[in-house]
Symmetry: C2
Subunit: 179 residues, 2 copies
């Protein structure tokens, strides 16, 4: 606001199934944007669970609280010229729409891999447990995932590498003048 | 970081009894800093209770969580060049020291008015209730307030106006090159 050569803040909101590649792509983006000297913060489960959402589990109510708190942080950062890289399953469209309504330069990014692909990957062994019924309310198995109807960016991580997906997002940010 | 004419971020952490004038001074500071075109966010109970700490009450545990979440937000804002004006009773020195350790350019500001003065003011009628025993764990009455031993700034709101107190803080920020 006060300076001429600042970028505007923005929110790259990565939504998708567990194992789709959200955090992997967020980490690549974070590195590339930092290399350019841009102000950027990555917000994902690993980052916020240490303090901001330490008390929360995975119930529907706790997931909603999780996103509510992250939204508050992303609102304050994005309106002050910081780029936020947010990686959360965030399965509900109305919740993502709420984040959009409350933040600056919000981009809904669908990190898309078919369910059978993420079950096959099963990086953390979570799908196996969810299918066996050992984890309740697991998105894609026992809880719905509402795929974005009209995402600002749509990347298919079963068809391209994380680096390629990150580049698609970077190109979009550049075309919008955000980076 | 990327630009030359940016101010560094900072945290003006206002601690003091309920009714000492923390929020009043924060509002004056916010207005004066915004007038200068500086990036600033005010964090106080009224702001964070809408979303970030909506689930929290006033137990010792909930107060600790409250400050923990605010610290996370102030950390991210201050390290990205945003000035944070934080107004919380925050009665414990070790908690304030924790905020200092986790944020950029932290200033502990003691908003000081003697207990008898804030009881006399009793803007929200809280002291009357606390003294009657209707509010448990009330700082200054039934819970301790650890006055800062060595605050960066000490203002006496029983001896000067809120505008004068705000000016003392502004002068300190200017002398440090933060504004």
């Amino acid at each position: 606001m006060s300076n001429n050569n600042e970028i505007p803040g923005f929110v790259v909101w990565m939504t998708g199934l567990s194992g789709a590649g959200k955090t992997t792509i967020a980490l690549i983006l974070e590195e590339k944007l930092r290399e350019r000297g841009l102000k950027v913060e990555r917000l994902d489960g690993d980052v916020v669970r240490e303090s901001l959402t330490r008390d929360l589990g995975f119930s529907a109510e706790d997931r909603a609280k999780n996103i509510e708190r992250v939204t508050f942080v992303a609102k304050l950062l994005s309106r002050n010229g910081v780029g936020c890289l947010c990686a959360f399953i965030s399965p509900y469209q109305h919740v993502r729409d709420h984040v959009r309504a409350n933040t600056t330069n919000f981009l809904e990014v669908f990190i898309d891999a078919p369910l059978e692909v993420v079950i096959e990957r099963d990086v953390k062994g979570m799908y196996k447990k969810a299918i066996a019924g050992d984890i309740p309310n697991f998105t894609g198995i026992s809880d719905p995932f509402e795929a974005p109807e009209n995402p600002d960016i749509h990347v298919r991580t079963d068809q391209q590498s994380p680096e390629e997906s990150a580049q698609v997002i970077l190109d979009k940010l550049a075309s919008l003048g955000y980076v």
